[in-house]
C-alpha cells in the first residue's frame, strides 16, 4: 500500500455543513472517491491510498489537471484505489464533482 498526499491552492466557494459525497467502488482497476467540506484555509487536499506502488508522478499529473479544471478550496478528497488507470481516476473525479455540485444547487 502507498499513501500519497497532494495539496492545491484554490479559490472555489466554501461550502460547509453538508454530507460527504462518495462515488465508485474499490475493486480491481477501480477506486472510490470521497469529497468532504473541511476548513483547510483555502486548500484542497487529496489523500490517496493505493495498492499500486510507485505511481506518484502519474497521480501528481492527473490531480494537477483535475485541480486546474475545478479550482477548489476547503475540500478534502479521499481516494481508496485498487489500481485504477489514470483515465478511470479522471472519470471518477469528474463523477464525484458532478454529484457534489449537483447537491449544492
Amino acid at each position: 500500500m502507498e499513501h500519497l498526499e497532494f495539496e492545491f491552492k484554490g479559490s472555489g466557494n466554501r461550502q460547509v455543513d453538508r454530507q460527504a459525497t462518495l462515488v465508485g467502488v474499490v475493486s480491481s482497476g477501480n477506486l472510490e472517491v470521497m469529497l468532504e467540506n473541511v476548513d483547510l484555509h483555502g486548500l484542497c487536499r487529496i489523500n490517496v491510498s493505493t495498492s499500486a506502488q510507485g505511481f506518484t508522478e502519474i497521480w501528481q499529473a492527473v490531480l494537477n489537471d483535475f485541480a486546474a479544471r475545478y479550482d477548489l478550496a476547503d475540500l478534502q478528497i479521499s481516494i481508496n484505489d485498487g489500481g485504477a488507470t489514470p483515465a478511470v481516476v479522471c472519470l471518477r473525479l469528474d463523477q464525484a464533482m458532478e454529484e457534489y455540485l449537483e447537491a449544492l444547487t
Binding site: 500500500m1 475493486s27 468532504e36
Partner: protein
C-alpha cells in the same frame, strides 16, 4: 430493426451498486445512512496485507421508509472484495440487527451479495458471521420480520448463504444465486468431474434463483428489476402488518421460529435428500417434481416460468 423498448422498464437489480439498490428500493430521499463513509470505519486487517480498504467496508447500513413504513436496511457491495464479510463489515450488520430490536421498525431488509467470509480476516470474519446470525435470530424473536433480497453478480454464498436462510423470507431474481459452497469452491475441493464451475448453465440450474424457488428455499421469485423487489417487499410487510390478524397468526408469510418448525424443517430436508439425493443436475430434480419439459425451464421468462410450474409448487 428489433424493438427493444419493451425489454426493460426499470433498473436492473443485478447491475446496480449497493447504494443505488437502496435508493431504488426505499421511498425517495428517505434513506439515512448510519456509520457512513465519512466515519471511516474501515477494516484494520487489510492494510497490513497490502489490500486497499473501503470507507464503508463493503456494506451500507441505515434507516429509511418503505411505502411510508420505517425500516432498517443493509446492502452489501459485491464490487468490494466480492461482498465478503470482515470484522467491521459484520459488526455493522450485527449492530443494525441489534438496533432493530430496540427501534422496532416494520422490517429489516438485508440486500445480500457476498461470497461469504473475507479470508483475509480469517477467524474475525467467521466470528462476525456467527454474531450476525445470533443478532438476526434475536431480531426475529422480537417479532421483527427480516427480509433477505438476493440478486447481485456475486450471489450469496458461504456464511452469508447461512444468514440468508435464517431470514424470515427471501426474494430472489433469476440471476440471483444462493448456496453454501460456491461453484468454484466445489470444483476446487471435489474436482471438475464433480462440478464444472465454468458451465454457467449448470451453475444456474443448481444454485440459481429459479431452482432455489422450486426447492422452496426462496419464497419469492421476481424479475431483475429493483421496482419488482420493492413491490414484493412492500407486499410482504403489508401482509405481516395486516391488522385483521392476531400477532401469532400474521406470520403466514413468515417462517415460525419454534422448535417444532425447526424439527419440521429438518424432516423436510432429509426427505429432500431421500427424494433427490441421487440427482446430478437441477433438470433431474425438476423431472422428479413432475414438471413437464424440465430442460425448458431455464430459458423461460418469469411469467412463463410461473405458468409452467404452477401445479408443482
Amino acid at each position: 430493426m428489433s424493438d427493444l423498448s419493451g425489454l426493460r422498464r426499470g433498473q436492473s437489480y443485478y447491475e446496480a451498486t449497493a447504494r443505488s439498490r437502496i435508493s431504488g428500493l426505499l421511498d425517495s430521499n428517505s434513506f439515512q445512512e448510519l456509520l457512513g463513509p465519512a466515519d471511516r470505519l474501515t477494516s484494520p486487517h487489510l492494510e497490513p496485507l497490502g489490500q486497499p480498504c473501503s470507507f464503508n467496508d463493503g456494506i451500507i447500513i441505515g434507516s429509511g421508509k418503505l411505502h411510508g413504513l420505517s425500516v432498517l436496511i443493509a446492502s452489501q457491495e459485491g464490487g468490494f472484495m466480492g461482498g465478503a464479510v470482515g470484522e467491521v463489515h459484520g459488526a455493522k450488520l450485527t449492530g443494525l440487527l441489534e438496533r432493530a430490536v430496540n427501534e422496532k421498525p416494520a422490517a429489516v431488509l438485508l440486500l445480500l451479495e457476498s461470497g461469504g467470509v473475507r479470508l483475509h480476516e480469517a477467524n474475525a470474519g467467521l466470528i462476525a458471521i456467527s454474531e450476525v446470525i445470533r443478532a438476526l435470530l434475536s431480531t426475529r424473536a422480537a417479532g421483527i420480520p427480516v427480509v433477505g433480497l438476493i440478486g447481485g453478480a456475486n450471489g450469496c454464498f458461504g456464511g452469508m448463504g447461512i444468514v440468508a436462510r435464517c431470514c424470515d423470507t427471501l426474494i430472489i431474481n433469476e440471476e440471483g444465486r444462493l448456496g453454501l459452497s460456491g461453484p468454484d469452491v466445489i470444483e476446487t475441493t471435489m474436482g471438475v468431474e464433480e462440478f464444472d464451475s465454468n458451465d454457467r448453465a449448470l451453475v444456474w440450474r443448481t444454485v440459481g434463483g429459479k431452482h432455489r424457488y422450486l426447492l422452496g428455499e426462496v419464497q419469492h421469485l421476481v424479475e431483475d428489476d429493483i421496482e419488482a423487489f420493492r413491490a414484493t417487499a412492500i407486499n410482504i410487510i403489508d401482509e405481516v402488518q395486516s391488522p385483521c390478524l392476531e400477532p401469532l397468526e400474521r406470520s403466514s408469510e413468515l417462517q415460525k421460529l419454534t422448535l417444532e418448525s425447526l424439527q419440521q424443517e429438518h424432516l423436510d430436508l432429509s426427505r429432500r435428500l431421500e427424494n433427490y439425493g441421487h440427482c446430478q443436475d437441477g433438470t433431474e430434480i425438476w423431472s422428479e417434481m413432475c414438471i413437464d419439459d424440465p430442460e425448458k425451464l431455464p430459458l423461460m421468462d418469469i411469467p412463463r416460468f410461473f405458468k409452467a410450474v404452477e401445479n408443482n409448487i
